[in-house]
Amino acid sequence: MGKSTGLITNNIRALRFHCGEMTQQELADQVGVTRQTVNAIEGNKYSPSLEVAFRIARVFDVPLERTFQYREEVRAE
């Protein structure tokens, strides 16, 4: 059996672009988090809670799966 590690990625940068180059601050205000948190999420440095993830998806009016993706990698031991 291999050891599985997961990576959560997102399309927030692309979705902000589609929303007229929405700024991180504008997104943060609508979601209810700080701009630094949006920056960390966008850079895959921080995985948000389900609640924040849903709120982000709702701002862009897209399903959660189009905002965040989970990629599982299995490493052989």
């Binding site: 988090v33 700080t34 920056n39």
Partner: protein
């Protein structure tokens, strides 16, 4: 041909940018926003013509009336350049209003830096004054120095926090701040627990209260510095 990320293929052809008068769900597309910013910049030409999008930072911008339609063609999957590359190019252009990557400190980070510096300042002053004069028990003038250190700490905190609050308009916290605070507290608690154990050991083998109080106080300060340092590190790393 590079494969576009899923998000770049989401926009159906029917959705067209508001800036071009056709509405993109009532919004303006990113390319139009960029075009206006680049136009203000004056030294950049952005030409969107399917299947390629060129960004040349040397000539004057020429925005075609069909730019947005080309952009939409671009997003349907016929691009020769991945959007990540275009973001890299546009990021290099100043005056476009893109965010600085983690460059500015949040209110919480500034507040933590203030606490870190004021702790080192006040207790650095105390320990450098008291520790060279070792004794069995605490002397009255050492207690006065301790009170002075506390007053200095409180003053630095009050003045510093007021200044930070005046400079920062946004002082709200969120779930990431709370997570970082919890992780920092955990690291600080390890140091404090170790310090309490060592202080009890010192109390068994030393006479008087001088060593006991200063080992305990030293570990308390160290625990605070570890807690704050951990939080500052986590803020820089992301979480």
């Amino acid at each position: 041909m590079p494969r576009l990320p899923v998000a770049w293929r989401l926009k159906p052809q029917a959705e067209v940018c508001k800036a071009r008068g056709r509405g993109l769900g009532g919004r303006t597309c990113g390319l139009c926003t960029w075009s206006r910013a680049l136009q203000r910049h004056g030294g950049v030409r952005m030409e969107a013509s399917a299947p390629k999008l060129y960004v040349t930072p040397t000539e004057t911008l020429r925005s075609s009336s069909s730019g947005c339609q080309n952009y939409l063609t671009f997003t349907t999957g016929s691009a020769m350049m991945p959007m990540s590359r275009i973001f890299d190019i546009v990021s290099d252009i100043s005056d476009i209003g893109m965010e600085q990557d983690m460059m500015d400190l949040s209110f919480q980070e500034k507040s933590l830096w203030l606490m870190f510096v004021s702790l080192i300042g006040s207790f650095g002053f105390y320990f450098t004054s008291v520790l060279p004069t070792q004794g069995v028990n605490l002397m009255p003038h050492q207690v006065v120095l301790f009170v002075l250190a506390i007053v200095l700490l409180v003053l630095m905190q009050v003045v510093g926090q007021i200044v930070i609050a005046l400079v920062n308009r946004r002082t709200e916290t969120d779930e990431r701040d709370r997570l970082i605070e919890l992780k920092g507290s955990r690291n600080g608690a390890y140091v404090l627990a170790t310090g309490v154990f060592l202080t009890l050991c010192a109390a068994l083998v030393t006479e008087g209260n001088f060593a006991f109080t200063h080992i305990l106080l030293g570990f308390w300060v160290l625990a605070q510095l570890v807690e704050i340092g951990s939080q500052l590190f986590l803020y820089r790393r992301g979480a």
